[in-house]
Symmetry: C2
Subunit: 350 residues, 2 copies
């Protein structure tokens, strides 16, 4: 029910994801009076879906505390609940981020030993793709949290990229040891001294993210969110400059006609809809947040990501990697979900 | 003497700047055994220049405290000294940033009432150009410092863009009042309540920088530095993607040939050398830091910026704008310098 496009965009996105992952089943949470007739438009999706009535709705401007108090009958709550009960491998929502995080923390619980969950995104680079976290679950982080993010990001990279030993860098304003803010310097000392199964690269700077210097870039939620949005804004600006430059002359226009295919490739490569989806890491269950303003293509990407994650053993990896963590998740939170095959994942959609 | 290109790049850059600003005079600080013969290659520049012998050198890896202790005979120290003595309107250096800031603070003094200096850069936007500060003078800032940055950034915008009442935004991770880290939230409350001659817009997000939503974006030195380098990395990545896409097909290559002029315009527009130069704000004198890795074109841009600033009344504006500030700079620090005409500025080069 969440997101600017509402159930129309969500179901259209699920229909695209269904074609790509024919074995996946969807639990669609929301107002059945809206969802059931809408689902009639997507016959193949309907066959792989189950509508779970949830009359309530969490509005975009609602505070996390309000969502926790009043949100129990909402589509968002019930989608997360399906993961907590082990009915779904992963929950996906395009709704209110703060509310989704609060409900996810409350119902799934934070992995023992992890101080705070984080939101991770996949970032396009010159080398391919990297992971950046936290991009906004927290505003500011201490050294312990940054170290936890390194563990979580590394487990995420192994799950999604299939790399054995991803490299991890700490985002800073210089590569020298003395540079930067205290939590970052302290986290580097802890990571260097630790026996975590992490290939710790050291400090990286803002331009290293797009260069792809490391597989995982660790930062606090404030800096990460600013970096992510700054990059989105810059990419948009460069495309705008490119368009203006091409339109200014006849030769430019002619060139643009010949290079139409190449320019389309570029736009597709930079289309934020293709890498839509922030993964909540550090919980006893996987939750993916789709951008609220995206359309069906963007939501389908978030579902792709969720399906890839849904069957992975990422949470077990976080548990195993994190020193001094007892591997005992809450009884009703089954990290692996009903099965371990990503192609067959069961997805709860809010 | 500073920068990766050494005196060659510096003098070549000064020669370019001399052609653009024929009335400007240069005080060239450094080893005269190197500078004097080199200057022989630039006859027109030599006529407008005076070599001031300074045998010492501050290395790139030197700590600010070391530079303060041992740097008195260095080219950097003497260039800043020329501003402090009122012999030059502005000092420009491509050397060690931390050392330059430390020496500048020591010799010029921080403007009374201002808690910390900041480094401001000009940022290309879709609308034109904006100012972003701090991009790395400090690692983390409290609310009072952010408010000071707003005052300084606004005075800089008036000086460099000639706008009467620039808009100022605080960089945050959401536009709602409750979002973000404490210093940012508190700074917003102070700016809203203040009688400063500032058009305070409120919070802006990372993508607002390139959109040009406000004339001045205020942030702490850690976040600002990460944002700046992330943007540089993103622009590079997009250009790399564009090149790859064009080269992949015959039609793309053909298009690129026709659109050669347009692509050159794009590259020029995104060339970091064209907007090279961070301005140290908050001191009783103007100091411009050129990127150390730039070439003569980049250094010429830093000199352009310095010459524009050298004759401005920015420091008086900061003094006037900052509530409760007594307008009494140190005796030997004359903010306006020898004269008030930017075209005729005297520039000390280190």
């Amino acid at each position: 029910m969440g997101g600017d496009g509402g159930p129309d965009a969500i179901l259209a996105g699920a229909s695209i994801a269904r074609r790509r992952h024919p074995k996946v089943r969807f639990l669609l949470h929301g107002d059945e009076k809206i969802l059931t007739p809408l689902l009639g438009k997507y016959r193949a999706l309907a066959k792989r879906s189950e509508v779970r009535h949830a009359p309530g709705l969490i509005r975009m401007e609602e505070k996390p505390s309000q969502a926790l108090r009043r949100g129990r009958n909402s589509s968002m709550w019930n989608a997360v609940e399906a993961v907590a009960k082990g009915e779904a491998n992963v929950a996906v929502s395009a709704g209110n981020t703060g509310a989704l995080m609060a409900i996810s923390m409350f119902r799934l619980g934070v992995i023992e030993g992890i101080s705070r969950p984080a939101i991770a995104v996949i970032w396009p680079t010159i080398r391919g793709q990297s992971i950046v976290l936290d991009v906004g679950a927290n505003a500011g982080s201490d050294a312990k949290q940054l170290v936890d993010f390194a563990v979580m990001g590394e487990a995420f990279a192994r799950a999604i990229f299939g790399i054995g030993r991803p490299t991890v860098g700490l985002l800073n304003i210089g590569e020298e040891e003395m540079k930067g803010i205290e939590p970052v310097k302290l986290a580097a000392r802890i990571l260097r001294a630790s026996k975590l199964p992490i290939e710790f690269y050291g400090f990286v700077e803002g331009d290293d993210i797009s260069t792809g210097t490391v597989d995982v870039v660790v930062t606090d939620g404030f800096t990460g969110n600013v970096a992510l949005k700054t990059a989105e804004g810059t990419a948009k600006m460069v495309l705008y400059y490119l368009k203006s430059a091409l339109l200014r002359s006849l030769l430019g226009r002619l060139g643009a006609i010949f290079a139409r295919g190449a320019l389309r490739t570029l736009r597709r490569k930079l289309d934020p809809r293709n890498l839509n989806g922030g993964v909540f890491l550090g919980l006893n269950g996987v939750v993916v947040k789709s951008h609220g303003g995206t359309d069906e293509l963007g939501f389908a990407s978030a579902l792709d990501l969720a399906i890839d994650m849904g069957g992975s053993d990422m949470i077990q990896n976080i548990l195993a990697d994190h020193a001094g963590v007892s591997a005992a998740p809450e009884e009703d939170a089954e990290p692996g979900g009903p099965n371990g095959d990503p192609g067959k994942a069961q997805v709860a959609v809010s």
